[in-house]
Amino acid sequence: MIKRIFSRLLVLAAVLFGVTLLTFFYTSLSPVDAAQALAVRRFARPTAEQVTQVRHELGLDQPLAKQYIAWLSKAVSGDFGNSYNTGKPIIDELSASMRPTLRLAALALLFTALLSIPLGVWSASGKGGFADKSIYLFGIVCMSVPNYWIGFMLMLAFAVNIPLFSIMGADDLKDFILPALAVAIPTSAANIRVFRSSLLDGYNSDFVMYARARGISEIKIAGMVSRYAFPPLVTLLGQSFGFTIAGSAMIEFVFSIQGIGSMLVTALGSRDTVTINACVLVIAVIFVAVNFLAEVINAVLDPKRHTKERAYDT
């Protein structure tokens, strides 16, 4: 078990290294010259020498490989440099904008679990019935709309028509309820489907029939089935947490939250490549870490499946 976790950690380190390489490559593809852009911002009408000077200052006259190594060696210790845009250390901006986004994602994760698990159980237990069919149809509708539009609809319903929430700013945890719901609804629509079918798989399998034949209580059987049925849901929940953080920009726009999504969009708009690199790296690290956590939880729940599912082990 420990050995397995350790070897996965090694693979993850390699994956993260690949991520930094890929991000650096992507942002360096940009057609806009960051040095030119900064020089324009600093001197209004920069001369050729001034541009060269800025380029040297930023280290952009070095070969790409050298730039990458310089960036990576600093980034490992948490030093992402200063934003081209504001001139302030990126790490400060990042930590300030991570807080609301993490709150949003955590609350959304909670809501997703609270929606997926009971509705999944309900539709599996009444398979083919009215509830099952309604949940299925509702799921298709929710999967077919963007979460930011659901945000607008929730806002219309619960901030305008029935003024329970305020629509501007996000300070209290209460202000995150509507945005988190908007994220959670389409995500749970997909999750309910998966959880339902793995529950049905579990109940239809031989070990349940055997357990029933031995006269084991239904409560104990439900425990056995849930060990079998939860891992796919846990994987999805882990993934959706990362997707929420990466795709939070739209929800943040709707509810005027100053999170990492809006920070990234601003950086993209002004081609602030160092900020983009830092944001992408942080998001990717969270994404990988949460997925790893989901894997560990699954390994604890159902050790046998874990070995079967990893492609490296087949």
Binding site: V11, V19, T23, Y26, L29, V145, P146, V160, Y312
Partner: protein, 272 residues
């Protein structure tokens, strides 16, 4: 197959919705009462009338026409994107999974790296890379999404290639190319149709997300997501302007989802 589709109401409804979207896309100029991009400040927020069936927006543009042209803008970006995703994912996944061994392992590791970057992130970093805005949307979404589809295709191919009939083919001396093109791909084709039909609805939603963030489209393009830019200011005064574009996205995406899901039930009745 076609017979089975026609006997399933859900598939027929989905198909009709898809056809409606395609028809609106092709015949947008015939359906639209006005020029979708014509700004008329005098007619700001006009009430629905004969000339403007759904009224006008904050720039005095005809909302109905913008919604109709929106189908054209969204679909003409979404269709090439899903085609690009399909070609890349089928090609790479089929070849790697079929060859197996070290190539397949390498493929898994590489796709793990690509999957560690959430799709939205990749597409956001890449969008705006090319001169042509439409092209940069297609490429950035394809670059972000191919790996998620390729993973699914890979499992289909592996499941298929271990079936007895493929082994028989190999014994009887079929060439590798022939096995892939004539046997594996046709046999997993229904599954691919499901994958890319539901995938298309995801792409439509993703594109609207970009337009909403102001990435990738010229300002003023009649796109459903773009029509929601700055909608925060309208929640109190003109909520209907927020509702319409979302309903259009819902209609288009739900059509592909309903059809895809019905097809899935037809392909593997057991999984239901």
């Amino acid at each position: 197959m076609i017979h089975k589709i026609l006997r399933k109401p859900q598939a027929v409804i989905g198909l009709l919705m898809m056809l409606t979207v395609f028809a609106v896309m092709v015949f947008a100029p015939a359906f639209a009462p006005n020029d979708p991009e014509k700004i008329n400040i005098m007619q700001k927020f006009a009430e629905p009338s004969e000339k403007y069936p759904l009224g006008t927006d904050d720039m005095g543009r005809c909302i109905a026409s913008r919604l109709i042209y929106g189908a054209r803008v969204s679909m003409s970006a979404a269709l090439p994107t899903i085609a690009a995703i399909a070609v890349i994912s089928v090609l790479l996944a089929t070849v790697c999974a079929y060859i197996g061994g070290i190539v397949d392992r390498l493929f898994v590791i590489v796709s793990d790296i690509f999957m560690a970057l959430p799709p939205f992130l990749v597409a956001m970093t890449l969008v705006g890379l090319f001169e042509s805005k439409a092209l940069s949307i297609v490429i950035s979404i394809a670059a972000a999404m191919w790996v998620w589809n390729a993973q699914v295709v890979r499992t289909y191919v592996i499941r298929e290639k271990n079936k007895p009939y493929i082994i028989t083919c190999r014994m009887s001396g079929c060439s590798q190319m022939r096995i892939i093109m004539r046997h594996i791909i046709p046999n997993i084709f229904p599954h691919l149709l499901v994958l890319y039909s539901t995938g298309l609805s995801g792409v439509i939603i993703m594109i609207s997300g970009y337009a909403f963030l102001g990435l990738g489209f010229e300002t003023g393009t009649p796109e459903w997501g773009a029509m929601l830019v700055g909608a925060n200011k309208l929640v109190f005064s003109h909520p209907e302007l927020i509702v319409y574009p979302g309903l259009c996205i819902l209609f288009a995406a739900a059509g592909f989802n309903l059809f895809g899901e019905a097809l899935r039930d037809i392909c593997d009745p057991k999984e239901n």
